[in-house]
Subunit: 118 residues, 2 copies
């Protein structure tokens, strides 16, 4: 997985455990794609301080992941939900029965909702 | 939800963020169903100290839940997965087509696996 994607996932799961200051800077870097220099200017701190704060946040978030493994579980569940969605689509293509179609369509909807609710 | 079930869920999600000492005592109380007095005797501390430690752990775990909402999300996802599983069973009862049956059976299996993997 690309480092930026992993950081976004870690931030999504554990970001609320960072301080407001850490959250602002980390999300500017990870989600808003600002450079160290740009963030430094905005926050009135040096480029080096930004770099160190982000490295520290990486460490904090990875520590939570090492303990709780939520990103791991999320990726695993997502893969399975996505497989259910594919199977429901295949079922839909292979039946003309309206009663079956209605149930299959509900499975498609729920699996999509779960996928999107994370 | 019964308090003991909520505590077990909170412990399941965030227990790794407690200290070893807190984990031992909290899990003896929540999962192994020991009394304050029994735990106190095992740990060589007073019944009151056990009571206070458990109350403190409740607070720590609820704080994590307030920030991360993982138990909430888990319960919500579980309900949806369980609905998918029910729908797959209904589909199975309403078809004799072997190709469909095979796909439906895979949906049943995956939804069961997800449900059990949490």
């Amino acid at each position: 997985m690309e480092k930026i994607v992993r950081r976004a996932l870690l931030y999504d799961f554990y970001g609320e455990l960072l301080t407001e200051h850490q959250k602002n800077i980390y999300s500017d870097y990870v989600l808003n794609d600002l450079s160290y220099t740009e963030i430094g200017v905005n926050e009135g701190i040096s480029r080096q301080a930004v770099y160190e704060l982000i490295k520290r946040c990486d460490g904090i978030l990875e520590d939570y992941e090492n303990k709780l493994k939520l990103v791991d579980k999320f990726l695993d569940t997502n893969e399975r939900i996505s497989r259910i969605h594919d199977l429901a689509e295949e079922l839909m293509d292979n039946t003309t029965d309206d009663i079956l179609k209605k149930k299959i369509s509900e499975i498609e909807k729920i699996s999509k909702d779960i996928y999107e609710s994370y």
